[in-house]
Amino acid sequence: MLRNISYHDDIRAVALIGRSGCGKSTFLRILGGLIPASEGAVRVDGEAATDSEEYRKKIGFVFQQGGLFSHLSALDNITLPLEKVHGLSQAQAQAKGYELLSRFGLENEAVKKPAQLSGGQKQRVSIARAIAPKPKLLLLDEPTSALDPEYTTEVLDMIRELRDEHLTFIIATHEMGFAYHACDKVLFLSDGEILEHGESGQVFAEPETRELKEFLSKMLEWKV
């Protein structure tokens, strides 16, 4: 799936772009310790990314959709991992959960089950759950590509707000505007390889490879 991945950088906000099926999800899943890499080594802050609970609990992960536990309320989705994985007491976890939900304007949805939430609310709760234990890295796998446009904005706004608080994240996205304005670096994946990477302003202004030029022109074709 992936090959010749060699990338080393100090990152804050990175956008992972590329065609569907180019390996973005696989890249993030290996980085998040959800699947093991068949070869090579991945290190995050000097710690090897492994398929283990010990590593995974330090990384936040947001799925494209369906990542919230469907049998738990929005609040419980946030508090249960805090209690069971991070050892907070029930009271501490509840306080933390309410704090996050109200901060992102979701306090009225606290007791609702995922099926009762809008797509945008679901993703915002997912992000709140992922950042609740203060992960050292947040990975977002196309968090808005299953959403209607009006919900996309509210989710991206939330992520940008987190960036302003110095949360480190890597987001796989098709939202080129977000990659350009809100992420300081961009990685372009094509056929499982990192073809280009660099400061986002530069990558978008002066794409070097034919693949990225084509990709960008397609993505921006209908932009006003």
Partner: protein
């Protein structure tokens, strides 16, 4: 407002009352007509005379069903698990079990099992034998209920459990089991009602449950209609609360989709 037509989800209580009355009147009229044609009058005065036998039969039905519920649940879980086993012989055994049991009538299984397997292995206790046969029968259906909900588990839920850092044990405890129970409970409750009704067939091997009791009573006093009518009421006493509970559970767990 049209009294006879309701849109989904907004039935007025007046509409409900009128239509329930209408259906009741119709049913009573049909039965009244049928009974008067064949010249039968109902006389239930004999029932109290058989109070003790009826109570014993009723309790036997409850006991058979409860014991079968437990045993069939175990069989169903094991067979659902074996159906996805990596060991082929076990998987085929489970598939064969489910296919054959679901494909044949219970009465055939009762006769075959009781007279061949039961006799060969010297199982003489009819209650025990009854529970065993009924559990084997119902277990095949429960197996399919459980397998269905296992298949409908969304892969992302398991991945999310991994992502938040749950261990394998926590994933089973906190994610898989609660979701599985929520999905299977309404159907399992319904299956319990089936067990109660199906236990009536055990009367053919002379397990003295409520159906067999009624058959015996009716052969003594020839009050066939009254006996079977009362029998129906007794089964409803057991199954109605269960189907009500099943509906409630279904509504409670509809968050799934």
């Amino acid at each position: 407002m049209n009294v006879f037509v309701s849109r989904p989800g907004e039935t007025h209580s007046l509409q409900a009352a009128v239509n329930i009355l209408l259906v009741s009147v119709l049913l009573v009229a049909v039965f009244w007509f049928a009974l008067s044609r064949i010249g039968v009058t109902f006389d239930f005065s004999f029932l109290p005379l058989y109070g003790i036998r009826l109570r014993d039969g009723f309790l036997m039905t409850v006991g058979l069903s409860a014991a079968s519920l437990v045993l069939s649940l175990i069989l169903g879980i094991v067979s659902a698990w074996l159906q996805s086993s990596k060991i082929l012989a076990l998987r085929y055994l489970a598939k064969l079990y489910v296919t054959v049991i679901r494909g044949t009538p219970l009465i055939m299984q009762i006769y075959l099992f009781f007279y061949i397997v039961g006799t060969a292995f010297g199982i003489e206790n009819r209650f025990f034998c009854g529970v065993l046969i009924l559990s084997i029968f119902e277990g095949a259906y429960i197996s399919e209920i459980i397998r269905g909900s296992l298949l409908s588990m969304d892969g992302t839920q398991l991945e999310a459990a991994k992502a938040v850092g749950f261990t394998k044990k926590q994933t089973v405890q906190l994610v898989i089991l609660p979701q599985l129970i929520a999905r299977t409970l309404p159907a399992l409750t319904g299956q319990f009602a089936s067990i109660i009704k199906d236990s009536s067939l055990l009367s053919v091997i002379a397990v003295i449950e409520i159906t067999q009791t009624m058959r015996e009573i009716s052969s003594e006093n020839f009050k066939l209609f009254e006996c079977y009518f009362a029998l129906g009421v007794l089964y409803l006493v057991l199954t109605l609360p269960i189907s009500f509970a099943s509906k409630r559970l279904e509504r409670r767990f509809t968050y799934e989709n």
